[in-house]
């Protein structure tokens, strides 16, 4: 492979647009300056458009898991009853963090590759009294997007807070924080937001603040009250990643220029093309049901007893293309193609044409060009 000819298609970190890289290469600015405060305000005002919220949004200098822990550390005290809606690896992680802070976690496992079943949630909520409900917007380990609107409608009727891990989805999949009654929404820089890792964004509802202010769990760097105090003057409690803020400022320029509706439509189109291609090649989608398949990542079952990691090795070594492997129980059994953030039609062409060649190289029967054709037809509007 030629140096620098690399196509990163994992669900974070994702490729960063050159214009964002250039913004991050500008001279470092001090964080106690008007210049930083102006940039901070601009960032938050546009994140509110992305999150569809009037709530405060804290841009915190750690990666996505730090954002999830921020949500938990500020709301959970030992013995609190928490309902965790688990659809894969990241749902499990959210529950694990809650347990770490002493929560009594009631975990519903919907099964890998499945989405949250609203009836099961409704039953649990009517039979129990929870302080928190944890859900994952986009489960990257399986390629499932959960119905946050539906979950929010149920949780919003109870005193419980709805905490949503939107790490991989926000910015690529629509979310309406206020309308859907989400109380804490977490995302991170390195997925659909088109930045390198290093920032988490945490939005907090008024209902959540009532719990947060009373919370006595240990928290210092992850303290939301500390963050709120500095936020009033568009400052931060601790030293922020100023280069990443500059990059976020520019990434939001790009997203606003494209228009969020167009951003969401683009991701849906890419997923539709990827899924059409996988089907045309006679491969099996890990999430066969289209209605809750993720717009930002497509998981595919490795065919014919082949270890998915062997396909990934050929893709990487011969074509410079990096897919993600399976996680946890699905290791080696699936591979995952991210089309998240800085991704467009030609990335699907690259992914599918390389996949076809990798399968042929490994000896799996494949009709070259057939998957590409199916994706092309989606792009041309042939099967809309």
């Amino acid at each position: 492979m030629m140096q620098d000819k690399q196509y990163l298609m994992i669900p974070g970190p994702t490729p960063v647009p050159p214009v964002v890289m250039a913004a991050m290469s500008r001279p470092i600015i001090g964080h106690r300056t008007d210049e930083f405060a102006d940039m901070h305000r601009r960032i938050v005002e546009r994140l509110q458009v992305v999150f569809q919220t009037k709530n405060e949004i804290f841009v915190l200098t750690h990666s996505g898991t730090g954002g999830m822990e921020t949500a938990i550390a500020n709301t959970v005290e030992p013995g609190d009853k928490v309902l965790a809606l688990v659809t894969g690896n990241f749902g499990e992680r959210f529950a694990k963090i809650a347990r770490e802070y002493g929560a009594d976690v009631d975990e519903i496992q919907f099964g890998w590759g499945k989405c949250v079943d609203l009836k099961a949630v409704e039953e649990k909520l009517s039979a129990n009294s929870y302080k928190l409900v944890l859900s994952t917007q986009n489960e990257t380990s399986t390629g499932v997007t959960n119905d946050i609107a539906g979950i929010g409608a149920l949780v919003g009727r109870t005193p419980a807070l709805l905490l949503v891990d939107g790490v991989s989805g926000v910015g690529g999949i629509e979310i309406k924080m206020d309308q859907w009654s989400v109380d804490i929404l977490v995302t991170a820089s390195q997925k659909s937001m088109m930045l390198p890792p290093g920032l988490a964004m945490v939005a907090v509802s008024p209902k959540a603040w009532q719990i947060i202010e009373k919370n006595r769990s240990p928290r210092f760097y992850l303290s939301l009250p500390a963050a709120r105090k500095s936020y009033e003057k568009w400052n931060t409690a601790y030293t922020p990643g100023v280069s990443l803020f500059a990059g976020l400022d520019t990434a939001l320029d790009m997203m606003m220029a494209e228009g969020m509706d167009n951003v969401y439509a683009r991701h849906k189109l890419l997923a539709r093309a990827a899924r059409a291609a996988v089907r045309a090649l006679g491969l099996e989608l890990y999430v066969p049901e289209d209605s809750y398949a993720s717009p930002v990542i497509t998981a595919v079952k490795s065919p014919g007893g082949i270890n998915g990691d062997d396909i990934r090795k050929v893709l990487k070594n011969e074509f410079g293309v990096t897919f993600a492997g399976g996680q946890g129980i699905m290791k080696g059994k699936i591979f995952r193609i991210a089309h998240m953030g800085f991704s467009d039609k030609m990335d699907i062409m690259i992914a599918i044409s390389a996949l076809e060649m990798a399968l042929a190289r490994i000896g799996h029967p494949v009709e070259l060009g057939k998957g590409v054709k199916a994706a092309q037809q989606v792009f041309l509007g042939g099967n809309e």
Copy 2:
């Protein structure tokens, strides 16, 4: 189209690898320093590997046409007899520059899309006495690569100097300056050398120096004797483009790491795949003959009375892919796909899959995926 999702496939300027961009972003250095001299020496030593020469190579701060004029301005005086071997637009330009300096130019037009016919050259050389012979290594206007070894064998037997425009080819197509009796070889930064425009490289044989030293045509910035004087101390006569030198240093690192044989093989493979795809799609190659088809650019006849520029508009607007149009007499009649410099297999997948979609969009009958398949088969070794 998403911002920054652009695929530039014109024959210069060509895409620049990120590692080269990063090198050019380093702090500017002074040009009268040991640091610059060390870099200059490193650059020339490795350019000698690329040019396959022991001759001095001058890295001059102007673009390719400036390099061609440097070759002419230092060798031509009014009334000099010059033989110009013309196979397209750039061959015509070389002849035009010679006339500008008062040369009596004898021009053989081999026809667009054709290569230099050695028999015609041999006849001219035996019937006339020329001071210079001008040839183009790679004619980007048509996608033809001329047989410089063959031309050099003929010219080397005469007192004439052989001046070769290697602007688009050197670094992507093998050339053996010394063995093939090339007296002045010119290339530029923005083609197969993977840099932005702004540098020309001019290598000069001992036979050429005898003419250059006697030359009395006006030349100051383009003076090779002035360049030679500074070159002895790894300096330059005038202010050099230091950032481009830093980029060239890194581009040469990449080329040496890949190995020049691999670089040349990669370009041949890309051309073979592009040509197989074009044929599979039922389109007509502008240069049907494989033996002199360019390894770095493929010209295609626009099909079915469609103006090639209309195909190019769809490619650019809908897929972010930029092909070159036809030049001169071929404007609107052909389009040209460059696979030059920082280009690899996936770029061919992008070019061909986008071309298929653009043709379908315009209403030209095309079997989607068929061109991609033909290119994939070349990459998999199926029709080697």
